[in-house]
Point group: D2
Chain length 351, copies 4
């Protein structure tokens, strides 16, 4: 199987963050990509050892008989010397707005894990992210990298906007239903729960162990940035969607409980059939025809799992989707996109 | 303040469970109740030391210079010898169905923490609990012990049905809105999250530390027993309510996120005013006019906290309520009821 | 019982920290102390509401029908206006070095929870804390506030140095053995494990939820500041003690496993008898004659529990002690000291 | 690299336990082994789907384009039909005592993860495990599968006794020191801390989430079965070792803090050099020359990490070793052994 892969050189920017480290881990054993450099946007002034930014990866490359990739502060020079053809940006959207254009101009293809390029209309970004969009010229050709919907557009893409973690879970539940006009257009509710790594590595009082351990809280009611992203790519009005994220006392994993009103004629069998057809070519989506998925089934995997129940007497469905926010919600989905951009099987390197 | 209290003798049945232990802890420092006996429905054949069923309570009575109450297997004799006037049943509903009538017949007043007496119509119990109701003759005089609604009916009550933990959180959010006809009658959604102690002490695979740590799962979709309880006491049709409980990886605490469609004319100020008036006499309900409550604010307290947000452009509200499932969701609410039954201030012994 | 208490006015400095908040909570229900003011050393410029620095305490005073105490930035004026006779310093040692002398000069008695006054010889402080001791004139009259040993010296004390959390657990295990010359003087090992609140509220990468959840690490090998404190007050040479703290993924609780070599003649019965006699007057120490204590037995209580086992064939013992680092390791022990300073029963207000 | 591997058929017995599931996961991507069958010793009467005993593995084989291995109740037939040459026993020692001889008699080679074959003298087993040894005839040829020490004896081995999780961590710290006569023979103390998966999947009250969350406890003082295993294979008297395990509130990971008295002449440089030489050929042991390892560095990896500190003035060292109890403490070490038995590189399939 290996023989069909060429080995393409890639770089990771933002290698010190949680999603960046997952990317490094996945790339370390990917048959078709070679990690040419790991760049951190952060603190260090000069080269670092990989173990300093990702202690868990120390020894992994040695075990495989491969040299550790260099770890460098992000710079045009570092990128140039890496001779890569593809870059993963696991950086905040401000950094992606600056670096995506520079990398694209230098001829690299880009998979951006931030929110910088997820909206074709810059005003949407500007309203929800509260800052001007400084790379508008690239928006037109950015492909929203949810492969379940946009698989066909990825092979030729130069710039891919990797979906947000909440968005991936919500879209998996909602998009087939909206596409098939199976649900009423208004009044979709998505109540989502996520572990703490989704908030990133930055120190915050509410992420202090003593504060979060044993806690659970709702946040961002009617204001979370993934709200317009979910609505846009699911095919509904933003204001028709109520999206409520909650912070859970766990490291990784995200579960979304979505509530929709079904149109006449949609019973459980029809809904199951709809989901199974929608995701029959999706290697990283698993439909539970019985039972419901939970976080233990998906953490540290590349899967988004889906299960659902219908109200016994009213036309309503509750859909549960879950995934690992750092994998299907970030790094492994970025690799799905990169795989498709490069002509590899969608799930190459993810098993 | 102390001088106004007589000291009434009480017994606790089900003293070995999580709610039972909280009752013992609260009673140990209550100014108006004396714990005459702690009975466990469980294993032991003869008297036990309190420390065996509730190790955390060892020494608390000694510190206060009081003798430890006897711990006995439940029996008519044990109850008789205790010479108590009030009994708390922190027992499963099967046990409550058996013991509540015996205690009532013996002249005791009863606060039952199980689901046995929460429905005036026995058929509701029988349908949702899957067993016959063997104490129908007591249903007519059972008072549903949510003091926020039924404060006035408690002084004379002989049998009080203490609400379920989920029900308390959901009712706190929903009842004032329904009472004031502020929301559309259909399509209320309550997405609730609870720690593991809500499931009790029994050993279960999904409550094994390795399974639950880092996990989150939805369960009981459209079938949870608190669904009809919430609907009935909030004043709505059961089928108009969608209630989804989730299990969280924490010991205690319960957070409910409720979604309602507001009727014309209800803006944020009107909703806040409604809640503040509804709970102005409720010492254990706290309304957050800004910000939202979280579990850290309520665990190990007797409070149910409430906060809410309105959709910026559509007539919809999201209400967050939270409480400690073992306290306001069980033991401390039982004491609120007992306090009112005995003419004490509602929150006596809870500060 | 209440009638024997006068009501003395006290202030808490450092009210926003974890130990400070526990002090506030305990003082809120103490029969002999009245919280005249809660001062935070931190951020705010003017008065705050108590709920802002200790959200969990909101409503507790209201429930008790008492006014909330004022929350002020620390200042001589604030202290003066409080008209208190005793101050608790739940502050870092740098702050205690500044404020203890000012409060003492103003006529208040002081219980300091920091390490500033735990060593009679300033050079010990200076070596282990790495800074000059700016209040040497007060060292001579500071009493080390471990009441199990120094109960008799507390009634007249003006300045009490409350022990460290690790030190309290280690001393409980070691002091009776050393006092009775039951163990060899060299080679005592204390392997201790503590929850994260012991490290305080400050943001640190290793206390980020994602980093600490699921983690355990040793730290401060041969360099932790509690090493000389344990040795000095247990009555041994500092270099004869090996003390290794570990950070655990839990909020509160501290367990110390101590290893000692017994002298001839000390069997299990003799050791048990020694401990029982040593702590017969200690209301907050519980000796387990069978079984071993664990954190669940002591968290959120004022107790230090002790159990032990002897090697079946060699003269060696393993002693397990545990406590809540914020209570017996900080706030409740501070109240034991204050109780004894004021002539109250040692455990008043702690049950 | 792949081309050097033949593909050997293996079976796993005890596939439903925690170690068994890790074995399945590792075998799913191992270049030289093919999982011919997964047998559970447990409940089911007939064939099951893999997803039923190991939900997390559902889809992994599909992703790799391979069929799922059959899941069968353990039986001679199942083993025969699997046509395997090597069996992993991830079973309790009672089951291993029964099945290892049957598998060996059927011509398979065996890696047993239980304690059944770790002692050459059956009396040691019988004393510490409290039951007769029913397979004494195989003890003489069992090789203790700690590859760091016994690498050379594994290629020809038919029966390998995989070490216990605690034993692996303790041996990594102690064996080089004892082998080099660097430490005094008496008075070695190993204080170990482990996550809950080390206790297995069986339901137990102290492993209930509510009981263990936030708890920490010592257990098995002077009686834990790994005590004689550590002593024997480290080369010391059992009674010279004090071994104290503790249960931590985390899923996986084990950290051992070992205390030894150094002989004259052993300074930090000499100890570091000793460890580096001892493990220079060990791909799964990492020596930290600076800093100390913690659980986050090793969980979900095949590594045992080691760091140490010397007392500043006395001849004593504290050594910290840590590992993932289900990997280097069980499944990945079993694969190291199987790799060496089959002539593969020791860490094949573990990166």
């Amino acid at each position: 199987m290996m023989n069909n892969y060429s080995s393409r050189r890639v770089v990771v920017l933002g290698a010190g963050g949680y999603a960046g480290q997952e990317l490094l881990r996945l790339l370390a054993s990917h048959p078709g990509f070679q990690l040419a450099a790991a760049c951190s946007s952060g603190r260090a002034a000069g080269p670092q050892r990989l173990a300093e930014i990702a202690p868990g990866l120390a020894g992994v490359f040695r075990l495989r008989g491969e040299p550790e990739p260099p770890c460098l502060p992000i710079s045009d020079e570092a990128v140039h010397e890496a001779q890569a053809e593809l870059a993963f940006l696991a950086t905040p959207h401000e950094v992606s707005l600056e670096w995506a254009p520079r990398l694209l101009a230098a001829g690299l293809r880009v998979v951006d894990l931030s929110g910088a390029f997820r909206f074709p209309v810059p005003e949407t970004f500007e309203r929800w992210y509260g800052m001007p969009h400084s790379a508008r010229e690239w928006l037109a050709q950015a492909v929203y990298g949810w492969p379940e919907k946009n698989r066909g557009r990825l092979p030729g893409a130069r710039l891919v906007a990797n979906p947000g973690c909440y968005a991936t879970a919500a879209l998996t539940a909602l998009w087939p239903l909206i596409e098939a006009q199976a649900i009423e257009p208004g009044g979709v509710i998505c109540d989502a729960k996520s572990g703490a790594s989704g908030a990133g590595k930055g120190l915050r009082e509410d992420l202090h162990f003593v504060e979060l351990s044993g806690n659970c809280k709702a946040y961002g009611l009617y204001t979370h940035r993934h709200t317009p992203e979910i609505a846009l790519h699911a095919g509904m009005e933003t204001e028709a969607l109520t999206f409520t994220p909650h912070l859970l006392p766990l490291r990784r994993g995200l579960l979304a409980t979505s509530y929709v009103r079904l149109r006449p004629g949609w019973d459980a069998a029809a809904v199951l059939d709809l989901y199974q057809r929608a995701y029959q070519d999706a290697p990283c989506v698993r439909i539970h025809s019985q039972g419901l998925p939970d976080l233990q089934m998906v953490t540290r995997t590349c899967f988004c799992d889906l299960g659902f129940r219908l109200h016994p007497s009213r036309p309503q469905a509750t859909i549960v989707t879950c995934l690992d926010n750092l994998l299907k919600g970030a790094a492994s989905q970025a690799l799905e996109n990169a795989n498709l951009m490069c002509g590899y099987p969608q799930a190459a390197g993810l098993a």
